[in-house]
Every structure is written in C-alpha cells, then in structure tokens.
Amino acid sequence: MDKNLKEHLMSYLLGRLSCQDVAEIITEYLEGAMSLSNRIRFHMHLGMCRDCRNYLEQMKATVQTLGKLPPEPISPHVREELLRRFQHWKKG
C-alpha cells in the first residue's frame, strides 16, 4: 500500500487531528469545554507534535501577558469631578 495512503487511512481510523484542527479548537481545550474523545485526540496530537505544543504555550503566554497589563488610571480632572459629585450626592 502507498505510504501516504496508509498514513491517511490511519489518521482517519484514529480520528487524528491536524495542526490546523488543533489551532482551531485550542480555546475549547483551554476553556475545558472539550469532549473526552476530542481531549484524547488533542493530547495524542500534542504528544507527537512539538510545533503544536509551542502553539499551546504561546496561547497560554498570550493570556498571561494580557492578565499582567494594568489599566491606565482615569485623568485627575475626571477623578476630581467624581469626588465632587459624590459629596453632592451625599448631601442630597
């Protein structure tokens, strides 16, 4: 049997995921929303594919980076205005 054909047949039988499939469902995995069978296939792919392991780590690092970005404070005049309105509200 042709080697490529054999590989395709095995992928089909095992329900193997491609790298593109992994990239498409990675958030489902990170969100813990993946079915058990897909999770197994996902892990099988990662076990064999360093590129996708790197991709997963990059996605996690992206989330971590975003979580480290502090918000910019509001401008001092808005803050002053808010405190003034609070005093007004308290009196009312």
Binding site: N4, E7, H8, S18, C19, Q20, D21, A23, E24, I26, T27, E28, E31, A33, R50, D51, C52, N54, Y55, E57, Q58, M59, A61, T62, V63, Q64, T65, L66, G67, K68, L69, P70, P71, E72, P73, I74, S75, V78, R79, E81, L82, L83, R85, F86, Q87, W89, K90
Partner: protein, 229 residues
Amino acid sequence: MLFFEWLTIALALPVIPPGRDESELLDGLRKGDEQAFAEAVDRYSGSLLRVAMAYVPSQAVAEEVVQETWMGVFEGLSRFEGRSSFKTWLFTILTNRAKTRGTRESRYVAFAEKTGSEDDDEWGGVDLDSFIQSGSKAGHWIEPPHAWDHGTPERLALSKESREQIEQAIEALPATQRQVITFRDLEGLSSDEVCNILQVTETNQRVLLHRARSRVRRTLAQYVKGDLG
C-alpha cells in the same frame, strides 16, 4: 536589633492603612464615606475605562461613561444585594450605560461598521495561510510556532513597545471580540460572568474569545520573532 532602635524605626514609619476589602468598601460607600469612595474610584475606574473603550469611539466619551457608571452606583447602591461581586456589578452598569451611549453617538455607528460584528467576521481564528492546504502534508504548519521562554509574558507586559502592539491589536478587533477579551483576559472575569454581562451563550463567548486571542497571539508572535531576530 535593640528594642529601642526597633521602636524608633517603627514609630518613624508612616501609618498606611491597608486597603479595605470589598464589603468594607461597600459599607463605607453606603455610609457616604468619602475616603471609601475615593478608594473605590481609584481601584475600579481604570478597569471601567478600559471596558468602556471597547464600546465607544473615544477616550472622552469613555470617561463620560465611567462617570455615568458611578452615578448609577449612587442610585443603585441601596438595592445591590451582593449576588455578584462589586466589580461585576459595576461592569453590568457600565455596559448598559455604554450601550445606550454608543447608540446615541453617531460616531459609534461608523465605528461599529468599520470594525464589524461577530456576524460578519468570517475569520475562524486560524490563518489558513499558516497551514499547508493540499497534498500529503495538508494541515501542517508552514512556519512552525517557536518556543517562547518562560519569562516572555513578563517581558512583553513590561515593554512599552509590546504593550502598544497589544493595544493596537485589541483596538483593531471587532467590537464584540474586544469586549470579550477585555473582560476575560485583561480583567480576569469568568466565562459565566461574561456571558451574564454580555447576554451571550457560552459557545458564542468562546468563539469570540478564540478569535480575539488568536489575533493577539499572532501580533505577539510577530513581535517576539522580530524582537529576538
């Protein structure tokens, strides 16, 4: 260290009151304590502004929305039962005000059209040109992702240049994706909280998050590659 030496140092240190926890802050607000209000404003307004920017087209309008949100807090404080966290409650008020404000602003329409909505964003969160599309290697990476070292998030968050890249990438997102990634990844809200605030299904929220994160990751990957190269 001698006791007296320790005492001198201890007495010389300024007394910094520890930050109040959420319920203490709420008690203070209900009593009309100005200190508590100033603390609440300093603690949450930056986050509110960041979220407001995902709805309205300019910093000035976003600041007005933040002010309106705090007015909403004054009005609703006595009715707040604490079923959600104070921060989530603030975000709920903010999104309602921002949506009302957004539809009033003619510029918002232009903004919404320009950035599109989830319905007209056909992008599936994966660049097809990153993968081989035919032949025996179909579905494999054309240019495989590199390994980032463990300090990368820290380094990216500290670098002004990369922060600007991230901000631009987030600003360029369709409005709904921007809202979801801001709530989830910048503000750290849970999926349930975001679904409640935005009134979207979990699946819809996940799709928007996936597209948004994938786009930001792509920007960061280009930055990291250029930075290291």
